[in-house]
């Protein structure tokens, strides 16, 4: 059957073998093709015009109409259909306030749509009642957008009694941010995602993120207050040079506080390997402490005292002190510049009074008004008052005073315990001084000599055995000999020992004595004085009182210039003749030899002037001094008597010769 309209066409191409009888089967004549196309165009026109009787089975009749730019809808007969017929039965009044309901999916106009009502710049929206609405709450002037305002100063303007905005991740785990962009870079305000990968931070971190090499600036009252740069955070400075750089015109630049009463507050300074020093304000005390690795090593108390390894004691208010360890103290006064203290186990309490820090000994050194003062004290109980003794002083003139607090010597050692005054020791040898039984001792307790020195040379010594030796050149006849020695090598001296009694009263003039106090050798040995040279002994005074020398050398002063009232001596004939020459022995004589001589008392009866009654040695118990005789006078009296005898002999010889005998 010839296909005369579109409804007779087949959806299978092979079945469309003709159109309105014109052959289109495989192998048809080419001349029929143009006729077939013309017939197809005619059938399409009939379909469009609806004259072929075919129905349209496309979108029409469904709920969604195909998009189109229809400007005119017309029908050749009645249009009907579900819903559509209702609308057509009661069509809206065009130009009214309420449009009819419809299922429009596309509204197309051929030109600008203008609404005569609403708010200029108002953005139309469906309100809660789905009424298309405009107003000043949501505005857009083509450039700037306003929420809550129609004052469109900036690109986005938001105004409300409590203006707020929220950006919410509906996924929950994604990042949320705002980005601010200009040629300086991007600045983000947001929250990191759950993986911390949006900004490369930490999961859900709150982020202020700038990609530009520019600072974050914080300002209040129109003035910059803080700045974060790539170098650090500056507060009060726009150019921080450190990670935290704070600058202020106020004295107090910053504060770290701990809430609650009595709690300590601290900050830590941590070095690269984790070691740290904690700086703390100790709770309830206002003390400042330094705590390396958390352990307190130094404490400044609120009075300005410093404790190293210890909390400072409660010092007197006029003192600033540094306490070191268990008892070390260095302190200075605030009321005078001339008094400072160095002490052990002692501090000045509020009284002020020196007080034991711990139960132990206490010592103190002061620099006090030009003096250096050393004090000692016995062991005492912590908290008790200390009774110090000023043991040593170096006064302002440079005198060192030991055991006394004032003195007039460069070294002045006073009443020290036990009477020991000083001692110097080296290699087991010492020199010392002490006072015993009221007598001062100076020397050495060592078994050694004690040497006196001048001009760097030993000039005298007391040997360990107690022998005194003096030598001008330090050379002795016997430095270890058990005798006292005086040695002089001076070439221009008349004597090496000079015993002088400068007193003006003759009665008080005395000389030297050799005294055998323990025995009486009383012989020719054990001499009192021995006079020797390098060849021989020239003279001795023997222990028996005898003088032994080279006799021919004895002389008496006899020069006429030394004498006066020179007269011939009277006759000594009878006096010599009256002398009783006796033999005798001394009471203490140690030998048995018989002595020849006179007895003073008998001589005194002959010639008193030949006897001296002033004594010899100690006066015997009867109170009468021993008497001596002037033997030289008796000697010359004997010569006088001999001369008289010679004259008599010569006279007798002359007479005998005259008598021829």
């Amino acid at each position: 059957m010839a296909k005369t309209k579109i409804s007779e066409f087949s959806a299978t191409p092979g079945n469309n073998t003709d159109i309105d009888g014109i052959n289109l089967a495989e192998g048809c004549a080419p001349s029929g093709i143009n006729d077939a196309i013309r017939e197809l165009m005619a059938q399409l026109k009939d379909f469009q015009a609806g004259t072929a009787g075919d129905s349209f089975n496309g979108p029409v009749g469904t709920t969604t109409a195909a998009a189109g730019a229809f400007t005119t809808l017309s029908a050749s007969s009645t249009v009907s259909g579900a819903g559509f017929s209702t609308y057509l039965a009661s069509p809206p009044a065009i130009g009214g306030t309420t449009a009819a309901a419809g299922s429009f999916t596309t509204l197309t106009t051929s030109s600008t749509v203008t609404l005569s009502g609403g708010t200029a710049n108002g953005v139309a929206y469906l309100n809660g009642s789905k009424v298309l609405t405009t107003g000043s709450a949501l505005t857009f002037d083509g450039t700037n957008f306003g929420i809550g305002t129609n004052t469109l100063t900036y690109t986005l303007n938001v105004a409300a009694p409590s203006a707020r905005s929220t950006f919410t991740s509906t996924a929950g785990t994604s990042s949320v941010w705002q980005n601010h962009v200009n040629t300086g870079g991007n600045f983000y305000i947001g929250i990191e995602n759950s993986a911390g990968t949006t900004f490369g931070t930490t999961a859900y971190a709150s982020v202020l993120w700038s990609t530009g090499a520019t600072p974050f600036v914080f300002a209040t009252s129109g003035s910059e207050q803080m700045r974060l740069t790539s170098t650090g955070l500056g507060i009060g400075t726009s150019s921080p040079a450190y990670k935290l750089d704070v600058l202020s015109t106020a004295f107090t630049i910053g504060r770290f506080s701990r809430s609650g009463a009595g709690g300590s507050a601290a900050i830590d300074l941590v070095e690269g390997s984790g070691g740290y020093v904690r700086l703390a304000c100790d709770g309830g005390t206002n003390n400042f402490s330094i705590r390396p690795a958390g352990t307190t090593t130094a404490t400044f108390d609120s009075s300005g005292n410093l404790g190293l390894g210890v909390t400072p004691s409660a010092w007197w208010s006029s003192t600033k002190a540094m306490q070191i360890g268990a008892g070390g103290v260095i302190a200075g006064r605030t009321d005078t510049a001339a008094r400072n203290y160095f002490a052990s186990n002692a501090y000045l309490n509020a009284t002020p009074a020196w007080t034991y820090i711990a139960t132990n000994y206490a010592t103190r050194y002061e620099q006090n008004d030009g003096q250096h003062q050393w004090y000692t004290a016995p062991s005492g109980t912590a908290g008790n008052a200390i009774s110090f003794t000023q043991a040593m002083t170096l006064d302002a003139t440079g005198r060192l005073l030991v055991g006394v607090t004032s003195g007039s010597y460069a070294l002045d050692v006073g009443d020290v315990s036990g009477g020991n005054m000083f001692r110097f020791t080296r290699s087991g040898v010492e020199v010392s001084s002490f006072i015993s039984a009221g007598l001062p001792y100076f020397g050495t307790t060592s078994n050694t000599d004690l040497v006196l020195m001048t001009n760097s040379t030993g000039r005298a010594r007391i040997t360990s055995g107690g022998y005194f030796k003096a030598s001008n050149n330090g050379t002795y006849l016997g430095s270890t000999g058990t005798y006292h020695e005086l040695t002089a090598s001076g070439a221009d001296a008349d004597y090496i020992v000079n015993i002088t009694t400068p007193v003006a009263t003759a009665a008080n003039c005395y000389g030297a004595r050799v005294y055998y106090s323990g025995a009486a050798p009383n012989g020719t040995g054990n001499v009192f004085l021995s006079c020797q040279d390098n060849a021989a002994t020239r003279a001795t005074i023997r222990s028996n009182g005898g003088i032994a020398n080279y006799q021919a050398n004895n002389v008496d002063l006899s020069d006429a210039r030394t004498k006066k009232e020179i007269n011939p001596a009277a006759s000594m004939w009878s006096k010599i003749g009256a002398l009783e020459i006796v033999t005798y022995k001394y009471n203490d004589q140690t030998h048995d030899d018989v002595n020849l001589g006179v007895i003073a008392q008998q001589v005194e009866t002959v010639e008193p002037v030949w006897v001296d009654a002033d004594g010899f040695g100690e006066t015997p118990e009867d109170g009468i001094p021993f008497k001596t005789v002037y033997t030289k006078d008796i000697y010359f009296a004997a010569i006088k008597a001999l001369q008289e005898a010679m004259k008599r002999i010569e006279e007798l010889e002359r007479r005998l010769a005259a008598a021829g005998i």
Partner: protein, 98 residues
């Protein structure tokens, strides 16, 4: 009002000063108020070698940048600070704490 030049940032290659860090201060009795900030400059300006710049020249840059109005604003801000220091509008403290 005193202007203090705290610091200047410059381009290492040519020494052009790009940022001037400034502080303005004003003292009244025991109180001193201050405000600080920065002014940025681009290389479009007249160049003078860094080591030949003087403090007064840089202060002149700031005054020119601020203008009379800007200077007056800073004066007003400092005066407000001083007034607040002399008569603090908000006081801090605890009545039971010494």
């Amino acid at each position: 009002m005193e202007i203090i030049i705290n610091q200047m940032d410059r381009v290492a290659a040519d020494g052009f000063v790009t940022v001037v860090h400034w502080t303005v201060t004003k003292t009244q009795g025991e109180f001193t108020a201050s405000q600080y900030g920065t002014e940025s400059f681009t290389e479009e300006g007249t160049f003078k070698p860094f080591n030949q710049l003087t403090e007064n020249e840089v202060k002149g840059w700031l005054n020119a940048r601020w203008g009379a109005e800007g200077v007056a604003a800073k004066e007003a801000a400092l005066d407000a600070q001083l007034a607040a220091m002399a008569n603090p509008p908000v006081l801090h403290g605890l009545p039971w704490a010494a």
